[in-house]
Symmetry: C2
Subunit: 185 residues, 2 copies
């Protein structure tokens, strides 16, 4: 493995085992077998390194979504659950969220990552509206929040894994809630 | 101020300014003016100290909810938004969430805090169901998630403050979504 890969893997290991608290050059050197001086020289800033790792996790195994937006929504939810269920992804995500309150580099990585997520989810919602599958009056931002907030809450707060059954339930619930045309109100 | 109050205030300041990363006895001594040895002796474990501070923030300014569950839901949402909007509360919350993945004491504090939140929100939902204001078939756990997940997502991920207008919108949206009796499906 190349130095970069070894250090990236070490960031994941350290964040998983110790959290952001334990992210130090000493721990990274120990976990990667790369010398402290090389780590210092290549990544003068550990926030930048963590963001690099997160960007890589975000773009790994990109999902090709179906043309049918109803199916695409299910695929998106399944992929999102799969990523959140991965303890390494979750540990790096938490480090980014926690770090972004105090560190400009973390905050920039955070904004970039979540605007990507939102824009993918948003295009599914807009396609559902164009094809008349859901209420066209709904705010896209509200629908994106409906898609992403619950799973994030489950993983961060109730700390449960998201099952395939829950993915299917969420898919049904969203389509039902977004289709308000039958509501007599 | 007593030692405990000064150190508690210092935990808030340090977490707000530096994050969990910066939570060290040195920084706490500097921010509180309490000696390092006293801090070491009184709080051998900084996780325990952080949890103590969080428990205090959770129970500060307890809200008396109205008997009418529709109004109680609005009060609950408003109070929840107020707490999440407080940068100190959010910083301590993030430290607890991040820490609970790696530290048993954090994890226990986390579970306790969120089971309290869930049980308060759950009793509002059950009362709404008993009084026939919303569908009685709905899962209480699902409704609790509907209440708490969106604001948490907004503060942690989109990093926006929650306005009074958004509290009112959320209140209307929840009641509308939970009242599925008029849906012709």
């Amino acid at each position: 493995m190349r130095t970069r890969e070894r250090v990236h893997a070490a960031v994941c290991t350290v964040l998983l085992e110790r959290g952001r608290d334990g992210l130090s050059v000493d721990h990274l050197a120990e976990a990667s077998g790369v010398s402290r001086s090389t780590i210092y020289r290549t990544w003068p800033d550990l926030a930048g390194l963590t963001c690099e790792v997160f960007a890589e996790l975000m773009t790994r195994d990109p999902l090709r979504l179906s043309d049918d937006p109803v199916r695409a929504l299910q695929e998106y939810l399944g992929d999102y659950a799969r990523r959140l269920n991965d303890p390494v992804y979750l540990a790096v995500l938490m480090a980014i969220i926690e770090g972004s309150a105090h560190d400009l580099e973390f905050a920039a990585a955070h904004r970039k990552a979540f605007s990507q997520t939102r824009s993918r989810a948003g295009s599914i919602v807009r396609k559902l509206q164009r094809e008349g599958r859901i209420d066209t009056e709904l705010s896209v931002a509200q629908c994106v929040e409906d898609i992403v907030a619950p799973f994030l809450y489950r993983r961060l707060i109730t700390q449960q894994l998201i099952s395939l059954n829950q993915v299917n339930q969420a898919h049904r619930l969203l389509l039902q809630r977004w289709d308000t045309r039958g509501v007599s109100r």
